[in-house]
Symmetry: C2
Amino acid sequence: MKIMSGKPYHHGDLRRVLLTAAVQALTEAGPAKLSLRDLARRAGVSHAAPVHHFRDKAGLLTAVATEGFDLLADALVAAGERTGDLLEIGVAYVRFAVDHRAYFEVMFRPELYHPADPQLLQARQRAGDSLRSGLAMLPGATTGDMPRQAGLAAWSIAHGFATLWLGGALPEEVGYDLEAAARPVLRLLFETG
Amino acid sequence: MKIMSGKPYHHGDLRRVLLTAAVQALTEAGPAKLSLRDLARRAGVSHAAPVHHFRDKAGLLTAVATEGFDLLADALVAAGERTGDLLEIGVAYVRFAVDHRAYFEVMFRPELYHPADPQLLQARQRAGDSLRSGLAMLPGATTGDMPRQAGLAAWSIAHGFATLWLGGALPEEVGYDLEAAARPVLRLLFETG
DNA sequence: CTCGCAATCTAGTCACTGACAAGTTCCTTG
DNA sequence: CAAGGAACTTGTCAGTGACTAGATTGCGAG
């Protein structure tokens, strides 16, 4: 505590600061151009300080991904409770990907982090559960392989639309209003499931 | 020509060799760990030789992406002509993503290459056209926004499934047979469109 | 109260990378 | 056969991730 005059040797909350800076940097330039040394500079510490909080670059991105999965789980649960509509959970998924691009782009690129990290696995599990729980809202989701496949289909279409949107791959005619573009597309699957 | 004894100064087909090596390296380790110098070593040339054929790293990846879009267009056209079934075009899309992972992972990450490159744009356009032409197979694809949205939905679900599969994000129960896993999921959308 | 010790951070270094500059070799074209 | 350009090499620079050793700090045991 007491971060007063000059630079205290102990930063106080370096881990948090580095994570925030990482998300900021990722938003600006993407994972490829992320540099630990740059983050250290932004935080005003030496270039080797981050090592203590995250072992290496992959460790840093593991923390980013973990936080991302937690945020995603929160967002999906909130959407489910707010609307009770699977379609709106899908929209929330797409919304999350675009609003939290920095997190999203790391989360689904396991070669960037340590995919076996326990905390990460737990967060990922939680996000998956909150997605699947939305499927209970589907009518007649009772037996057989149908619900599982419907879940995969729902996840796929939301994930695919979000990824294509982020990659700038969609044609211009889709416009710039994310939800207006996504909702009718998702509805094509969700209303027939 | 006449690449006979020793090392000729002019390699003969360095551009092609570098591209092949790049795809190989991408398959092994992904775009993040791709190194121009490593490719040069693999090809047995100096570390600066690649610059002459591709201006910089992004230039190399532009060429990879261009080739990828061409291959994808070929695959989609072939599937359409072979089966005349939109569902099978979707399966071919997923198949391509997994079989040509190296290409696929570059193609939809425009921050890695020069997205305004004319040849790239042309190849991308061709791939998009071959996808859209498959939509003509849909019954009643005549008026309004429906066909466009159905196209986006089809693209999204195939792209999403492929991406999730590649990222290892899908639960284990999906199994290891790609088409067996993908087909029933895609069918959920394609048969109702 | 104080003292040891672990957590935190700094400083220095190494191999590697992408980009650039300048020079060398080879081939083609006039 | 000369000239000029394309293909390639050598040398160099700043930036990076990882590693090591050491300095500083604050906390808890006694």
